[in-house]
Amino acid sequence: MTARLDSPLKVTGRARYGSDHNPPGMVFGYVVLSTVAHGEVTAMDVTAVRDAPGVLAVYTPFESLELHTPHNPIMGATWVPLQDTDVAYRGQPIGFVVAETFEQARDAASLVEVSYRERTPLTSLEDGLAAAEDAPPSMDGSPHTVTVLASGVESIEDALAASPVVVEATYTTAPQNHAAMEPHSAVAVWESGTLTVYSGNQGSDLQAASLAQALAEPLSAVHAVNPFVGGAFGGKGATSVPAFLAAAAARDLGRPVKAALTREQVFTATGTRAATVQRLALGAEKDGTLVALRHDSWSSTPMSRAFIEQTSHSTSREWYTTPNMVISQKMVPLNIPPTTFMRAPGEAPGSFALESAIDELAVELGMDPIELRRRNSSLAPPGKDLQWSSKHLDECFGIGAERFGWSQRSEGGRVDGDWLVGLGTATAMFPALRFPASVRVTLNADDTAEVATSGADPGTGLLSVLSLIGADSLDIAPERVTPRLGDSALPSGGMSGGSTATASAGSAIMVAAPEVIDELLTLAAAPGAPFEGAEVSYADGRVLATDGRSLTFGEVLRAVDRSSIAAVGSSAPGEEMSKHSFSSFGAQFCEVRVHRWTREVRVSRMLGVFDAGRIINEQPARSQLMGGMIWGVSAALHEGMEIEADGRLANGDFASYLIPVNADIPDVDVQFVQYPDTLHNPVGARGVGEIGIVGVAAAIANAVFNATGTRVRNIPIAIEDLLDE
């Protein structure tokens, strides 16, 4: 177990995040947001703004900074601000004021007078359901509706009608904001035709590419730097509005520009998780065998329809064995802030619905919910031939049930004084993915090594993982390996997202390390070299000859007069995808206490047991999972954006957008079953960034039902959901 290498820097305040950079001559930009949710900006009076002290420039759709829409394979198109007068949601960036100081820019921004031609906004998912549209194909290319029917079965309705036991219910989940500690911000510096941008983002090379496209500059002219990212969770996958505006304004003004969103602005001017409505029907035999599953999902999406939260595709499509299954995904375009990836996009809200429904079925059958899940555990996604590469979910449930005292659970919960106590459980799954990634491994003459990639460490521990896998692959101590990341000048590490970074970068290291060792051995045995003509091998950081002589790699490099040698390794999803299905698995357990009189729900115990392949570094892996589970509590009991009819966010600050505080979170127990999944990638790791949140909200709702007998089908669960009179 290794503590994270960057912890001391972060704890002592020496880690320099994007907006900690203050180059000489820097000026400050402040973003202006729309105050209506739908319509057109007809005029912006900025006379008073220009006259305000310290103001250097005011940019609006009428006097804009030219920006072009960039595209990348993962994020698709990224919206760039101020290019037209359309207003699609309240809190949309429509202006940018640059001044000598932050306070001057903010003060001046408050003087902008905006005129709108307003149109009636549509902001409520419920009201928009009637106008729902079929969603575009999901990330893996599946159509909006997927139907799997056993031969002879005409329709899912027939299969449900023929099922001896059926449960049917509708679930809803609230929209959320990532609310990362570091607000979206950027410092942009132009120097002799080259732009350097310091801005927290999930992939420096992707950010550099999107800035280059937006600014119509060659890629070589843009350098993105983000060695530290103060939380991202999917909300920093795309290049942010402050980064586009700071970069363009810095070019226009010939001075470095810093731009940072305020906490309140982050809620609308970045990305959010969609609200969802999900209708589920499960049909089963009396012994619990699933016969039919129908999962219809509606997700809110902004008017651009740029991102759809796919809840049924990412859960019911794969989780259980069933001969008959129909899943569908619709989108409901609304005048709301953009939606985007957020930790376990699809799986988090989808698992609330599916895993609540499974619990309802268990109640209906009078069966233990773990037994019901075991009975329907899938060997492969329904209707697919490719079996799971490595699945130990039953073992997770077994260990969890034992540790958590599941056998003590009784049907109607238990009473402790004035507290009603209940236990709940749920399955967690998250696909094992990999993105293309390249890593450079360098051996230095001073016997140190460097492992470098442009990818980001948004608090996940990738930096430490690079050093550990690098050390392992080079057979040297981790202290001798310098990891580097978060710089677009390094080999392309792609996106830190989808819980992929360890598997992707790790696999690339395992390609690069043998290559650089091969080169070392070739050099060592070359004419004039210390091992000329000898048969050599490599171990323990040394080159060894059959005659017993050995030299460290540094000694060899010095002898042949090289300061360093390097190799770049790349990895990408490959033919494994045609052989197996890949996923991580977990069993979530929660105990809740509900006050008999005042109905507050308190989570009193939590346990997650995870099958996520090989765990490279246990401490940060546990932290990742714990963080995910805590966010699950937040989604279940606290968090939700309240968007009013006119598009105003009623709770757009940390005083009213509730996230749990320490008092809300009990000890969180995280356990692993470790089965390295080398069918997926040579490292055997499947990623732990997202699976922690999956299933938690359902486990809590199921525990609430166990405690109180009340089934709550919406999150966050509030006191009034549990009050009868």
Partner: protein, 320 residues
């Protein structure tokens, strides 16, 4: 935030002589200045004025500049007061925030705090979006067509239950006012929140001696376990002798436009045995006249239940 002039008067007389907005801990004032809700031109830092001290010789006398954390920790404080304080805000805020400032804090209504929307309390006559908008946190008691905002102080609820008074000093002298009379229901002038006159200062809080208030508590129900305002709260003190309730004090928070004393509930408790039936019958009277809004209908049942819970908690031993 708009530019302002900051001065620190050295005596109470100097503070009263110069017009301006008083700054104590600043946890309400600076917050609202940042939001442009309050835009004072002159701010008077009163922190060096001699308005300190906690005296327990006869009842409780608390200087207006005492910090919430110090009062909560003081051994002579009644349980209902220290619990109300400890369940308020966070330790950091309690270390900064003063008792006078706490009583003068403004409502947490989201529309009041957002200058881009109307609000009768902030801009008289502009309208009240909460009547039809996000009003889950709002009041069901003491409301009017002009304003339905709750009073947010937990401490004030405990103090009202204990018949506390505030001493006010102005340029024309001193007066003391019962805290229950100090706060104004909104009626059609929601901008007038208290009886405090222009330039007047709260110098201290006086709590009459009430020995049996050693049996008292404050129950606060909220959406998370700490660092959040009440959806509903109850301050309760009971005098129980020989299995009879001799006297009772009950007040509610989070549900009303001012700290809400509940004399009818107290009356129903007096003389009755401390049983569940008594508590339920008494609590049923708490919500007489409640006017629920679209999003807060649950507050009436929640108030009854919160009172029952508080009464159960202070009589746990009697009932055992």
């Amino acid at each position: 935030m708009r530019p302002f002039e900051l001065t620190a008067p050295e005596t109470v007389d100097a503070a009263l002589a110069s017009p301006g907005t008083f700054l104590a801990g600043g946890t309400t004032l600076v917050d609202l200045m940042k939001l442009d809700v309050l835009t004072p031109e002159r701010v008077l830092d009163i922190n060096t004025l001699p308005l300190q001290g906690i005296d327990t010789t006869d009842g409780l006398r608390i200087g207006a500049l005492e910090r919430m954390s110090d009062v909560a920790a003081h051994p002579g404080t009644y349980p209902v007061i220290s619990r109300a304080l400890l369940l308020s805000a966070s330790q950091q805020l309690r270390n900064m925030a003063s008792i006078g400032g706490n009583l003068m804090q403004r409502t947490r209504c989201g529309y009041f705090r957002d200058v881009s929307v109307p609000c009768n309390r902030r801009e008289p006559g502009s309208g009240c979006p909460a009547l039809t908008g996000a009003n889950r946190m709002h009041a069901v008691l003491g409301t009017s067509e002009s304003c339905v905002a709750t009073h947010a102080s937990d401490l004030a609820v405990a103090l009202v239950a204990l018949d506390a008074r505030v001493r006010l000093v102005g340029s024309d002298g001193e007066r003391t006012v019962a805290l229950a009379d100090f706060y104004r229901m909104p009626a059609d002038t929601p901008e007038v929140e208290t009886d405090l006159r222009q330039g007047e200062l709260i110098s201290e809080v006086l709590v009459p001696r009430l020995d049996w208030a050693s049996r008292s508590t404050y129950v606060k129900v909220r959406d998370r376990q700490s660092y959040e305002f009440a959806l509903c709260s109850a301050a309760v003190a009971l005098d129980v002798q020989d299995s009879r309730i001799v006297d009772a004090r009950v007040a509610a928070g989070g549900v009303a436009t001012v700290p809400w004393r509940l004399p009818s509930v107290e009356q129903a408790l007096r003389g009755a045995p401390p049983t569940q039936e008594t508590f339920e019958a008494a609590a049923a009277l708490a919500t007489e006249g409640a006017r629920p809004l679209s999003g807060n209908g649950f507050k009436a049942p929640l108030l009854r239940r919160t009172i029952i819970r508080a009464l159960r908690e202070v009589t746990e031993e009697d009932r055992a």
